[in-house]
């Protein structure tokens, strides 16, 4: 299962971050490195969408309906989380601080 692999990698990273095992250069530039790695991943994800002929074919036909459904799902999810956000974050200090 992928979930297990993700969890192991996250925990490995967390251990290294927690124990501060990175060297100075990596430690100082980790934010930039992460950003560039992220843009690379997003670029590859974009290619994955564009290279699939079905996505482009169907998007022309049902794209409008799909976007309506996706946007409504997203907006309602945000509103629902907003309802409980205070009860979760007030108990946990540090959440509002800039990380």
């Amino acid at each position: 299962m992928n979930i297990l692999l993700y969890l192991v990698i996250l925990l490995l990273g967390a251990y290294i971050g927690y124990k501060n095992l990175l060297n100075d250069f990596l430690s100082k530039n980790i934010g930039d490195i992460q950003n560039y790695a992220l843009f690379l991943l997003l670029f590859i994800m974009g290619i994955n969408i564009g290279v699939d002929d079905n996505v482009i074919k169907y998007f022309g036909v049902i794209g409008y309906q799909s976007v309506v459904l996706a946007v409504f799902s997203i907006i309602f999810s945000i509103l629902m989380v907003k309802l409980v956000a205070k009860t979760i974050t007030t108990e946990e200090e540090g959440v509002e601080n800039d990380g």
């Binding site: 979930i3 993700y6 990698i9 996250l10 490995l12 990273g13 967390a14 251990y15 290294i16 971050g17 927690y18 501060n20 980790i30 992460q34 950003n35 790695a37 992220l38 843009f39 991943l41 997003l42 670029f43 590859i44 994800m45 974009g46 290619i47 994955n48 969408i49 564009g50 290279v51 699939d52 002929d53 079905n54 996505v55 482009i56 794209g63 309906q65 799909s66 309506v68 459904l69 996706a70 409504f72 799902s73 997203i74 907006i75 309602f76 999810s77 945000i78 509103l79 629902m80 989380v81 907003k82 409980v84 956000a85 009860t87 979760i88 974050t89 108990e91 959440v95 800039d98 990380g99």
Partner: protein
């Protein structure tokens, strides 16, 4: 951040359409997996730097699970409402919403009913993932950090987690991962169930 995210995805889509042959699709999965593992490692470092997060999570306890619960309710009810505007049956719209952005699984599940419904689930949930990637930094900044998990849905444990982590902090990244895992486990149960009970 949002501008550069849009640029990266858009550039990829354009190159995917015009440069890469369809045959390249076979290699995309592994490329994404490698990239994702690298980024999740970085997310892990962010989480570790925050100190003892396990303690904080324990303090929050079961309240953490309110986030996936609320995202599930919001996604399904939102899709049903959007579906009503489009004239879709309630059970079909609800089931598509219960894909929570996991497009491959929801599409496979719903193509058992009809190819059209499978295609709609596929494109809707891809759209959700792309809109999530673009909107998360904006939501984190102007609406709230916890709310930034909401658009991601099931993808909060993988593809959108790096964006959430970059836009918020290690604490929220942990809650996002838990939310993604919880929602992902619900997809295979809720999608077929909603097709039946909302009929």
């Amino acid at each position: 951040m949002t501008g550069r995210i849009i640029l990266s995805v858009a550039l990829g889509i354009i190159i995917g359409i015009f440069v890469f042959p369809q045959a390249a699709e076979a290699y995309m999965g592994i490329m994404i997996d490698i990239g994702l593992c690298l980024l999740l490692f970085f997310v892990g470092i962010d989480i570790g730097k925050q100190g003892n997060i396990l303690k904080k999570i324990k303090k929050m306890g079961f309240k953490v699970l309110l986030v996936p619960l609320m995202v599930a309710i919001g996604s399904i009810s939102g899709a049903i409402l959007g579906g009503l505007l489009l004239g879709l049956p309630i059970n079909e719209a609800g089931a598509i919403g219960a894909g929570f952005g996991w497009y491959s699984l929801s599409a496979i599940e719903l193509s058992k009913h009809s190819a059209e419904l499978g295609a709609l689930a596929f494109i809707t949930n891809i759209s959700r993932e792309v809109i999530a990637l673009i909107s998360i930094p904006f939501i984190a900044k102007y609406i709230g950090r916890l709310e930034a998990i909401a658009p991601a849905g099931a993808t909060a444990m993988d593809t959108t987690l790096p964006v959430i982590s970059r836009s918020t902090d290690g604490n929220i990244a942990v809650i996002a991962f838990i939310t993604g895992v919880a929602l992902s486990s619900l997809v295979p149960i809720l999608v077929p169930t909603l097709m039946i009970i909302l009929k």
